[in-house]
Amino acid sequence: MYDCIVIGGGPAGLAAASAAWEQGLRKILLAERDVELGGILNQCIHNGFGLHYFKEELTGPEYAARFAEKLRETGVEVRMDTMVLDLKGAPGRREVHMVSRDKGYCIEEARSVILAMGCRERTRGAISIPGTRPAGVFTAGAAQRYVNMEGWLPGERIVILGSGDIGLIMARRLTLEGAKVLACVELMPYSGGLTRNIVQCLQDYNIPLYLSHTVTEIRGKDRVEQVVVSQVDGRRNPIPGTEMVFDCDTLLLSVGLIPENELSRQAGAEMDPRTNGPRVAENMESISLSGVFACGNVAHVHDLVDFVTEESLRAGAAAAHYVQSQGWESADGEGPVLPVQPGPGVSYVLPQAVRPAEMDKTCTLSFRVSQVFGPCKIILKAGEAQIASFPRERLAPGEMERIPLPKVLLERAQAQSVSVSVEEVSAQ
């Protein structure tokens, strides 16, 4: 029986497995479905990774290599080319069903499990674009893999729908490789990506960004020939008469990411419809499955890998603590469980619950706002009482925000719940 099985060898799984090892677990298995470690970082060849964690600017493959190297120095058993199919069992004796060419179908048991499967892209089907169904419609991440790893250019004249970070990064990448990126089209009145990417990926290359616009038709028989772009009104409905037609051979979609949680659902983890990930407590442990932890994009979609690392190190350490203290003996834990809820202006908060008895001095609350805010303050409440507020110059849904929840304030308030909300501050 393993102490811990980590599912996924991307940035989350790498950090979680290292942390579990560092905290003293010695029987750890990491299962990865690809042929190498690092996950999506291997195709993210641009730089900007590691500024928080390493205090230097790295590319994705360099960031991945540092953690893969660190893992090699441990005794963590790594199984590549291995797909986990099911998660069953009971607290303290979880069963992980996996399959590989090497070992066939096998069931491994573990005291604890860390879910680190990451996320996948939303596709054309998920957003229902009308029109024909020709070749030439790709998700931005698929195009990124073709260009950066396989050496194929997906097209020559390109329109990008969605202004998520991967779409913006690909606008620049494809331009550098000789393609013409005609436009980046965003449904919302603001970009879904980081501001720096608007500057260095679109403005640097004079690529127009059409906010409050969307693709209303794809034309072409065998290959994309044209896309029609329309302006949308305040309720996101296309406005007749505003159509623009782009002659292009490729449409890239950068329209959001979905945490990859088939396994978590099969295992019976209680899910948060806002994050599309398992509901977790302050130590990243599933609220409903004792000894099952979730970290990285499987729990909620991140903008920065540095924060994935930080969260996953916590999850790995927490899994080690769970095993060492035989957490399955007291599966329901001690003391109260306070729900953490998004208030006005906030679309989700993670963790979804905190147990003051289990907390360190502080717990980081991660959240996203539901709209763009100018000068504003973040309000942290315990029950109805405000326990802290944090001023901000600007908040946008495309940029995850983090605040500390101090244990001492929480205990003093003796409340039954915690909430995070955002209020506009009127100019003085």
Partner: protein
């Protein structure tokens, strides 16, 4: 006065740069913003990341970057120079594959190791 968004880190500070007063920068969150604001209006630079051909490796492209930021105007010349580079696996991380690319003083170095297929 010129309004800029700092691209040094993901925070994206909104900078104001005064061209008429020795490019004085305000709105920065850290000293790197001051340096960026001034450089962006006087001599803008970027670190270039791309890929080069790689024979016999796990993948046919190997990612690379410039060893330091290069002038923005040199980007097309750097990309052109990369077309002429072809590696053979195995390749190690940080290997210099092209010195002083396009006369910028920066080297092109690999950003991953590439094992043989």
């Amino acid at each position: 006065m010129k309004d800029l968004i700092c691209i040094v880190c993901p925070k994206g500070c909104h900078l104001q740069v005064d061209e008429e007063h020795d490019y004085a920068v305000s709105g920065f969150g850290c000293p790197r913003g001051i340096a960026y604001g001034k450089a962006e209006l006087t001599a803008p630079t970027r670190t270039i990341t791309s890929t080069v051909r790689c024979r016999g490796g796990l993948y046919p492209r190997c990612p690379v970057k410039t060893s330091k930021p290069v002038p923005k105007a040199s980007i097309p010349a750097v990309m052109e120079a990369l077309n002429g580079v072809s590696l053979t696996a195995p390749v190690s991380l940080g290997q210099v594959v092209l010195a002083d690319v396009a006369g910028t003083g920066a080297d092109i170095q690999t950003t991953r190791s590439m094992q043989q297929r």
